[in-house]
C-alpha cells in the first residue's frame, strides 16, 4: 500500500513523542543556562597553572606557590604556539626546597589555544593542568582573552575538585619524588660527613696528576 512506510515512520515519531512524557531516557535535551549536564571528570578545556596553597590565597602567595619553573618546554611543544614565558633572573625554592627559576611572565592566549593538552603531557613538573571551566566569553577580543599568571593560577585543591583521580595520582607521584630527593639529600649529607671525617684523618701521599692540555688547533 502506498504510504505504509510513511505511516510506520509516523508511528515511530509518535512513540518517541508520547514516550517523552513518561520516560526520562527519551528527554534528551537540557535547558542550558537554567539546568546543566553534569561535567564529566576527564573533561578538558583550557590550561591553568597549579600552585600549592589555599584556594583563597593572595596573589603574592599564589605566585609564590606556582610549581612552574619556566623551563619553556610547553612553550616549545605547544602546537598553535599560544604560550608566552619570560624567565626570572633570580631563583626561589620550589616544592622540594631546591632553588629554581620561576616564570616572570606566563601568558596563555586562550583565543589561540586549541585545548589539545600537549602542554600537560610534556610538563615534567606537573605544573600545568587542564581546567573544566567553559563560560569564558568576553567583549574584549585581545586583552580579555590573554590570561596572565594571576588569572591562570589555580590551587591544587581546585585540581583535586575537578579531576580527583588524576590529581591523586599526581600527588602520590610528587610525594614519592620529594621523599626520594629528601633521602638523596640525607644520603649526600651523610656522605659529606663521612668524607669530612676521612679528610680529618692523615692523607697518604699521592703524586698529583699533571694535566697536559693539547694545543688547540
Amino acid at each position: 500500500m502506498l504510504g505504509e512506510g510513511m505511516l510506520k515512520g509516523l508511528a515511530e515519531t509518535a512513540k518517541n513523542f508520547a514516550g517523552s512524557f513518561v520516560s526520562k531516557d527519551r528527554l534528551t535535551t537540557v535547558q542550558y543556562p537554567e539546568e546543566r549536564a553534569p561535567v564529566i571528570e576527564n573533561t578538558r578545556d583550557f590550561p591553568f597553572l597549579v600552585y600549592d596553597g589555599a584556594d583563597d590565597a593572595s596573589d603574592e602567595a599564589k605566585l609564590a606557590g606556582l610549581r612552574c619553573v619556566a623551563c619553556q618546554i610547553c612553550e616549545k611543544e605547544c602546537p598553535p604556539k599560544c604560550i608566552y614565558i619570560v624567565k626570572s633572573t633570580d631563583k626561589k625554592p620550589d616544592y622540594v626546597g631546591k632553588p629554581q627559576i620561576y616564570p616572570a611572565r606566563f601568558d596563555i592566549d586562550i583565543s589561540v589555544c586549541m585545548s589539545c593538552q600537549i602542554c600537560v603531557e610534556v610538563c615534567p613538573f606537573e605544573a600545568i593542568k587542564m581546567d573544566t571551566e567553559f563560560e569564558l566569553s568576553t567583549t574584549d577580543r585581545f586583552g580579555g582573552l590573554l590570561y596572565d599568571r594571576e588569572q591562570l593560577a589555580r590551587s591544587n585543591q581546585h585540581y583535586h575538585k575537578i579531576h580527583p583521580t588524576e590529581a591523586a595520582e599526581v600527588d602520590a607521584r610528587l610525594a614519592e619524588e620529594k621523599a626520594k630527593s629528601e633521602a638523596k639529600a640525607k644520603a649526600a649529607a651523610e656522605a659529606a660527613a663521612l668524607k669530612a671525617a676521612a679528610a680529618a684523618a692523615p692523607k697518604p701521599v699521592v703524586p698529583a696528576a699533571i694535566e697536559q692540555k693539547e694545543p688547540t688547533a
Partner: protein
C-alpha cells in the same frame, strides 16, 4: 602504455541545448542553506536540469600540511582532529599508523583493541549523523537528524570520558594510546553498544520503507563501478556501486583480521544504496564492537620505545592508511631524521569522493543536486584542509 593508448575520461555531455537557448548559471553556496559547509557549486541549468556543474573548493583551507611540516610529529596530532571533525579518532589512528610504520613502533595488544573500539564507535556516530544530514537535505527537517544526534551524543559522552573532549579527541599516540580506559568505561560502552541495534531498527522503521525517500533516492545520482574505481572513490560510496573493497579486509591493518564481520555491498550505486550501506555498516560495526569489548586483554597501552618529546624517526618514508568512515584515509610521511616531517601529505576521502560530483549530477534536477551532494558524505574540514 603510451599516453595515446590511455583512455581519457570526459564527463558525458548532454546535447539538449538548441541554438539560441540560454543557460542559467547559479552559484550554489558557499553560504547556501542547503549545502553543509562552505562549498560552492557553479551550476549551469537548462530550466531545472543540470547541464554543467563545477565544484569550487578551498574556502576552508587552513594550510594543514604545511603547519604539520613545520611542527613536531606530536604537534601534528591535534591538527588531524580538525580534518574530519566528525571522526577525530580515526584520523588520529591513520596518522599514528603512518608514524608507527616510519619509526618501527609496535602497538601493544590492549591499545589495538582500544583503537578498534573507538574507531567503530566513530564509524557508527558518523554514519548515523550522515544519514540524518541526508534526510535534512531531503526536507525532513529535524526528526531523523535529532534521533541520530541523540545516539551520537551518547557515544560522544563516552569519548569525552575517555579522551577529555567530545570531538577533538587527540587520543592516540605513536605506539599506543594516551591514557588508560577509566574504570567502568567498558561497562558503559557495552550498555551503549547493546542499545545501538534498537536505534538502528528505529532509524530503519522511520526511513527505509518511506515512499518519499524511495522516490527521491532510488535511481538518483548513479555512479558506475568503473568510473568509481578510476576516480579513486573509496568507502561506502564505492561499496554502494558493488565493488568489494574495504581496507579492513584488504589491508589487514591493526587487528581487524581477528573479528568476524561482513562487508555490505550495493547493487545500483544510487543514493538509496549509499544510505542502505551506511545502515548495514552500522550493524556490522556493532558486531565488531561486541567481539572487541568481550576480548579486550589487560596489559600496557604504550610501546616502551615510544617517547613524547624529542621524537626523531630515522630517515625514510611511510604511508599509513585506514578505512575511515568516509573512505580510505591515508597519511604519507617523509622523514629526514629531524624532529618534524620533511613531507606530510593527507589523502582525504572526502575530497576524492567529491571529484565525481558532476558525473552524478548531470541531467538531474537542481533539487536533486543537493541530495546527491549530501549522499557523498563529506566534511569540508577534510576537503579543504
Amino acid at each position: 602504455m603510451s599516453t595515446a593508448d590511455m583512455k581519457v575520461y570526459r564527463p558525458p555531455v548532454i546535447d539538449i541545448i538548441e541554438e539560441g537557448d540560454e543557460l542559467l548559471e547559479v552559484a550554489m553556496g558557499p553560504h547556501h542553506p542547503s549545502t553543509h559547509g562552505v562549498f560552492r557549486m557553479d551550476v549551469a541549468l537548462d530550466g531545472e536540469r543540470v547541464i554543467r556543474l563545477k565544484p569550487v573548493f578551498g574556502y576552508l583551507h587552513r594550510n594543514h600540511e604545511k603547519i604539520a611540516e613545520k611542527a613536531s610529529y606530536l604537534a601534528a596530532m591535534p591538527y588531524t582532529d580538525r580534518l574530519d571533525y566528525f571522526c577525530s579518532l580515526t584520523n588520529n589512528w591513520a596518522y599514528a599508523l603512518a608514524v608507527e610504520k616510519l619509526a618501527g613502533l609496535e602497538v601493544p595488544e590492549r591499545a589495538e583493541y582500544i583503537r578498534v573500539i573507538t574507531a567503530e564507535l566513530t564509524r557508527i556516530q558518523n554514519h548515523a549523523s550522515s544519514i540524518g544530514f541526508l534526510m535534512q537535505e531531503m526536507g525532513a527537517s529535524g526528526t531523523p537528524l535529532m534521533y541520530a544526534f541523540r545516539e551520537r551524543e551518547r557515544i560522544l559522552d563516552l569519548f569525552e570520558e575517555l579522551t577529555g573532549s567530545r570531538m577533538m579527541c587527540n587520543y592516540m599516540r605513536f605506539g599506543g594510546c594516551r591514557v588508560e580506559l577509566p574504570t567502568g568505561w567498558l561497562a558503559k560502552a557495552q550498555t551503549i553498544v547493546d542499545g545501538l541495534p534498537k536505534f538502528i531498527d528505529e532509524i530503519e522503521a522511520l526511513l527505509t520503507g518511506n515512499e518519499i525517500l524511495m522516490a527521491r533516492c532510488q535511481g538518483m545520482g548513479i555512479l558506475k563501478p568503473d568510473l568509481a574505481i578510476n576516480a579513486g572513490v573509496t568507502g561506502p560510496m564505492l561499496r554502494a556501486t558493488g565493488v568489494n573493497y574495504d581496507l579492513r579486509k584488504v589491508d589487514h591493518y591493526g587487528i581487524y583480521d581477528r573479528f568476524k564481520f561482513r562487508v555490505p555491498l550495493g547493487d545500483h550505486g544510487d543514493i538509496f544504496d549509499r544510505y542502505m550501506i551506511r545502515v548495514l555498516e552500522m550493524r556490522e560495526s556493532v558486531t565488531i564492537l561486541h567481539q572487541a569489548i568481550k576480548d579486550i586483554p589487560a596489559g600496557p597501552i604504550m610501546d616502551p620505545k615510544s617517547k613524547i618529546r624529542g621524537f626523531r624517526p630515522k630517515p625514510g618514508e611511510a604511508y599509513g592508511r585506514i578505512e575511515a568512515p568516509k573512505g580510505e584515509l591515508g597519511f604519507y610521511l617523509i622523514s629526514d631524521g629531524s624532529g618534524n616531517p620533511y613531507r606530510y601529505r593527507v589523502r582525504p576521502p572526502s575530497l576524492i569522493n567529491l571529484t565525481i560530483l558532476e558525473d552524478m549530477c548531470l541531467g538531474h534536477n537542481v533539487a536533486d543536486v543537493v541530495l546527491i551532494f549530501g549522499s557523498v558524505d563529506i566534511v569540508l574540514g577534510e576537503v579543504d584542509r
